[in-house]
Amino acid sequence: MKNRLRVLRAEREWSQADLAKQLEVSRQSVNAIETGKFDPSLPLAFKLARLFGMRIEEIFSDES
């Protein structure tokens, strides 16, 4: 699954560690999601969407 997490994070000048802290997950988790190697669960996707003030589909897309 593709996502815009890296761009959205960069726009806010957050490091992976900053984002991980706000999501209460490890930095490795953020990296795995950003690189598309790990798809987050719906609760975590909603948490991300709330954090960025966007809808889930504005962050994630199911394009391969």
């Binding site: 209460e24 997950v25 490890s26 930095r27 490795q28 988790s29 990296n31 795995a32 999601i33 690189t35 190697k37 790990f38 987050p40 669960s41 975590l44």
Partner: protein, 133 residues
């Protein structure tokens, strides 16, 4: 697991350390008890089962960790490592079973199955982590 640390992982490490110490202690005490008193019957069964309890405790501790881990990615990594451990143990013990039956390989005692499982978990875990770098 061994690089990052959160409260659930810290608790898990403590539980595993306690289980490992108890495992060695109980095994030594049981061996001494059987050597000195030559236990038989129900007492022998009870002492044998009690000696195995720390190993069971380690498995329960692993289940507790999976239940407590809030980071779904870390939980996913550990579940994959456990699956790798189970697969490795099943494969190794099955192959060895055939070797015992058909090639007269020496008998492997069942008490080594659980340590073998943990060895597979420890070996597989870093390999799985590499996939997510």
């Amino acid at each position: 697991m061994w690089c990052v640390s959160n409260p659930a992982q810290s608790r898990y490490r403590v539980r595993m350390l306690v289980a490992a110490v108890l495992c060695i202690l109980f095994a030594a005490l049981a061996a001494a008890a059987f050597n000195v008193w030559h236990l038989t019957g129900a007492v022998a069964w009870v002492v044998a089962v009690v000696s195995a309890l720390p190993i069971v405790g380690a498995l329960v501790g692993t289940g507790a960790y999976l239940n407590e881990e809030k980071d779904e990615f870390q939980r996913n990594l550990y579940i994959q490592a456990i699956l790798g451990g189970i697969a490795g143990t099943l494969a190794a013990t099955t192959i060895w079973g055939y070797l015992e039956d058909f090639a007269r390989a020496p008998h492997m005692r069942l008490i080594w199955v659980c340590p073998m499982f943990w060895i597979f978990v420890v070996v597989v875990f870093p390999v799985i982590r590499l996939r997510y770098r």
